[in-house]
């Protein structure tokens, strides 16, 4: 029988600023909570690759490459509408909104339901 889920209070809202994160331990689990474009996202701190501490990695906009009408590359750019968390073990990058690797969607983080009330942020485990 699956264990019953529990809703756990995490922190006051201002502990997870826009574009930032908070990594917390709840029981045996370590969870990363992120805020991007006003929305909260939470994932287990376990990378889909080799289980690395993904939520403790670098937060960085997705890198894109500009291609002009003639098909020529005009170099790299940041896409600031897409925020990535980079696993510090080997560099797998995941879109914060989807939890998916942009090149292999099956490589995805384990999402944790997260909600925000007047008194702060909760996750359900």
């Amino acid at each position: 029988m699956p264990a019953a889920t529990q809703k756990a209070y995490v922190c006051a809202s201002d502990r997870v600023p826009e574009g930032g994160r908070l990594v917390v331990d709840i029981g045996d689990a370590t969870i990363g909570i992120f805020r991007f474009e006003g929305n909260l996202y939470a994932y287990h701190n376990i990378c889909a690759h080799q289980g690395g501490p993904v939520c403790q990695g670098t937060l960085i906009p997705r890198v894109t490459e500009k291609i002009d009408a003639g098909g020529e590359s005009q170099g790299f750019d940041f896409d600031r509408s897409s925020l990535h968390i980079v696993c510090p073990w080997h560099g797998f990058e995941y879109d914060i909104k989807t939890g998916e690797h942009p090149g292999r969607r099956a490589a995805r983080l384990i999402r944790v339901p997260v909600e925000e009330n007047h008194d702060g942020i909760y996750v359900t485990l």
């Binding site: 529990q6 995490v10 289980g51 501490p53 990695g57 073990w89």
Partner: protein, 406 residues
């Protein structure tokens, strides 16, 4: 659903002590999730030998330069460190700028530096770091290599290569090796100079913890040249394995066409070992030195089935080009040893076929390559669904135990 806002009056969530892993983070924290694998796969029940890991000799560069035997070279190197702003940890090395791309520009901090706090004691800092890594991953013994010294094969000045190789080997076998029985090494041969290679084997071959010797693979020489035969004979007679450790080069005719580090790393870590393996087999070295054990390090495994098929195919049509062979190239390759990292796992049925081709149960040696950016934890092997329990035990350590007489 219970609301656990508080647990005995305390918030249920605790802020994790390390919010972001950096070059200053303790490696036990970086590798905390590997410790979970120890429980999950019962790795404490295994004798795990890691056949490719690294310490950072640049951190001890001044001490290594002090070990240079030739007084003029020692003077030159030390003066370089005084006068050039960044030469303190670089003088006389062949560290190419491209290698500093390995950490994906800060995304993979442990590749750039293990700058964590280590209390100052009599123990060398590198030993503390090596132990922290081994204990975090459930590894019992580690074959430890340097890092930039592996690029000496393309150094422009052979005399410096020979002098630095002796200096490093002396420093390592005096400072690191005698202090920890769990640390072993395959020492670099100064392959620019066969006489110096023979001297290296004689000077270091019987030191406890030296389990064999190594040729750094990025180099532009044919390993089948007659001048090297006495080296292979000496190793064969001593029962010491010969390893080829792959490395990257952004400076050869293929990689100079490439604009991204991922392209260079994908190709050149493999093509250097492909080149040496081709010369090794086509020139019949397995027939000339049938008892010499050969290990191919850090090229992953996916290249091996390609080499087996390609060399077999061509050899059968051109037997007279390789008259010493009595078997197919693939059969000689199947007798060689390979380290596992970086294990290419994205296409499971090809991985399984590759394990069969290389006879992984008896020939494959687990390696982590820690602290490099593409390291593999032991769970990489322990979690493979197609391996028998005995195969896992062999790959993780029992084959290394036999090969290196541990």
């Amino acid at each position: 659903m219970a609301d656990t806002k508080t647990l005995n009056g305390v918030s249920a969530a605790r802020e994790h002590a390390v919010q972001q892993i950096t070059t200053r983070t303790d490696s036990r924290e970086i590798l905390a999730n590997a410790r979970r694998d120890i429980e999950r796969y019962h790795l404490d029940d295994y004798f795990i030998v890691d056949v490719d890991a690294h310490h950072v000799e640049f951190d001890s560069w001044a001490d290594i330069l002090d070990t240079l035997e030739n007084p003029v070279l020692r003077y030159n190197a030390k003066e370089m460190t005084k006068h050039w702003p960044n030469a303190k940890n670089l003088a006389f090395s062949n560290h190419p700028v491209g290698l500093t791309f390995q950490d994906v520009f800060g995304r993979i901090p442990h590749q750039a530096e293990l700058g964590e706090y280590v209390e100052k004691t009599d123990e060398h800092r590198d030993l503390t770091l090596v132990r922290r890594a081994m204990d975090s991953m459930g590894i019992k013994m580690q074959v430890v290599f340097p890092q930039p010294m592996l690029e000496m094969g393309l150094h422009p000045e052979p005399d410096i290569v020979v002098a630095m190789t002796f200096a490093y080997n002396r420093w390592f076998t005096r400072t690191i090796l005698p202090r920890e029985k769990r640390v072993k090494s395959l020492l670099c041969l100064p392959f620019h100079d066969p006489d110096a290679c023979m001297k290296t084997i004689q000077e270091f071959g019987e030191i406890p913890g030296v389990v064999g010797f190594m040729i750094t693979s990025q180099r532009h020489v044919g390993v089948h040249k007659n001048m090297y035969m006495r080296i292979y004979r000496e190793l064969e007679e001593r029962g010491l394995p010969l390893a080829f450790h792959a490395g990257p080069s952004w400076g050869d005719t293929m990689t100079t066409t490439m604009n991204r580090f991922v392209s260079v790393h994908s190709m050149s870590f493999v093509t250097c070992n492909m080149t040496h393996m081709t010369n090794w087999i086509i020139n019949g070295l397995p027939e000339r030195f049938p008892k010499l054990k050969v290990i191919w390090i850090e090229s992953g495994l996916a290249w091996v089935p390609f080499m087996m098929q390609r060399l077999d195919h061509e050899y059968l049509m051109r037997q007279s080009d390789a008259p010493l062979l009595k078997r197919l190239p693939s059969e000689y390759i199947a007798d060689m040893y390979f380290t596992s990292q970086p294990l290419e796992v994205t296409i499971p049925h090809m991985l399984e076929a590759t394990f069969k081709a290389v006879r992984a149960e008896t020939q494959l040696l687990y390696s982590s390559d820690w602290p490099h950016w593409d390291f593999d934890v032991p769970a990489r092997i322990a979690g493979l669904p197609f391996l028998t329990e005995q195969a896992k035990r062999n790959i993780l350590g029992e084959t290394a135990r036999k090969l290196f007489r541990l």
